[in-house]
């Protein structure tokens, strides 16, 4: 009873190392778990922001596509040789614009489930990686359609004296305005896309 301390002699040094390594492994697991839940907090916030941006981009792209599709104007006078009607299908670039932005809008709708998955499981890398890769491809398509349509709209507003291309906006005012606003809406959608890609890249970081 006077003995207060007992010394335990361990005969095999290997078991001692095994137990200490186990302790180290457990602490590492604990640290990893804590870091994971801490990382999960801001990643979930980023995922929610991603989802909301996707919804905004869907609205923007559908607006752009439908405004361009319904842009039409017929001037009230007519002569025998000149055309006095303007619609989106008079320009091949605008046809490409309508189809491409419609494809971008349907991609965004299809990517909403992936975005919801990243909200539910903020630490999974696979859905985020898929979203980033497909977002990059689709942003190229959207930028291409927006830029080509912007080039034609610029030409319609200003014309080009060197090639004798006259600006048509002076005659077709309503058509020009509708087409310009469609181009602006699709450019806003492209900005949303770039923010989406940046969010996915930041959230992919592992600690």
């Amino acid at each position: 009873m006077a003995k207060e301390s007992t010394t335990i002699e361990v005969g095999e040094p290997s078991t001692v190392t095994k137990s200490t390594s186990h302790v180290v492994v457990d602490e590492k697991k604990k640290k990893g778990f804590v870091a994971a839940t801490a990382g999960g907090g801001y990643k979930r916030g980023l995922a929610i922001f991603d989802f909301l941006l996707r919804l905004a981009a869907i609205v923007t792209t559908i607006t752009a596509s439908s405004v361009m599709y319904t842009a039409e104007e017929t001037l009230p006078f007519f002569t025998q040789f000149l055309q006095f009607q303007a619609g989106y299908d008079d320009f091949a670039t605008f046809q490409f614009f309508v189809i491409a932005i419609a494809m971008v809008a349907s991609y965004l709708v299809l990517s909403l489930p992936f975005s919801i998955v990243t909200i539910i499981r903020p630490l999974a890398a696979a859905p985020r990686l898929i979203l980033l890769i497909s977002d990059t491809v689709v942003v190229t398509l959207a930028t291409s359609a927006a830029a080509a349509a912007a080039a034609i709209v610029y030409l319609a507003h200003n014309g080009n004296p060197n090639t004798n291309w006259l600006p048509i906006c002076q005659q077709f005012g309503d058509f020009c305005q509708a087409v310009s606003s469609a181009v602006v809406a699709s450019s806003i959608a492209v900005v949303f896309f770039i923010i989406l890609i940046v969010i996915s890249a930041i959230a992919l970081k592992k600690h």
């Binding site: 491809v137 830029a147 004798n164 890249a201």
Partner: protein, 187 residues
């Protein structure tokens, strides 16, 4: 004890393998950057040196064509020049990724800049493509005549310089993909 040692050997092998994969990844990125740089600089130079004067002249009509006559082509040259400058400046960073192992934050920065450059390059290339299409086909509804029928070599030059730019767009997409995969793989 034996199972513990086997575990340690296995995890070290896995770490070695992933280290090799990420190094290969980084080397491939470096090479792709160099190729994309050559593509963009070639496109910019090809477009900027367009100059054609037709051998006859009349008092009122222009018979001279160069890239600065069309603002979309000027934007194309500027965009290609900016992107090729960025690619050259990002080569040291890509080289550091090959050598160093803890590169998370710089990879995120590189992805953000790559996406911005992708947007700029795509915008320049597709607006130039729209104008080149117009130059080839014209537009009957707006009385915009195709200029390619008169300026043949100018037209060929501007069409050819678009190719390098679109190839560079594709390479930039690949670069972003590689960076993203490397980001998601780190332990």
């Amino acid at each position: 004890m034996k199972s513990g040692q086997a575990e340690i050997v296995e995890t070290s092998k896995a770490i070695q393998k992933s280290g090799l994969m990420s190094r290969r990844n980084a080397i491939l990125e470096f090479i792709l950057r160099i190729v994309a740089f050559f593509n963009t600089i070639t496109s910019a130079i090809l477009m900027a040196t367009t100059n054609e004067t037709l051998p006859f002249f009349a008092q009122f009509i222009r018979f001279h064509a160069e890239y600065s006559d069309l603002p979309a082509l000027t934007f194309f040259v500027i965009a290609n020049a900016v992107v090729s400058g960025y690619l050259i400046l990002s080569l040291p960073l890509a080289f550091v990724h090959i050598v160093k192992s803890k590169t998370q934050n710089s990879r995120v920065l590189l992805i953000i800049l790559d996406v911005a450059m992708l947007g700029l390059l795509t915008a320049g290339a597709s607006s130039a493509a729209a104008i080149v299409y117009l130059a080839h086909k014209g537009n009957n509804n707006t009385n915009w005549f195709s200029i390619c029928q008169q300026f043949n070599s100018f037209c060929e030059r501007i069409s050819g310089s678009l190719i390098g730019s679109f190839v560079a767009v594709f390479l930039l997409i690949l670069l972003i993909l590689l960076s993203a995969i490397a980001l998601s793989r780190r332990h």
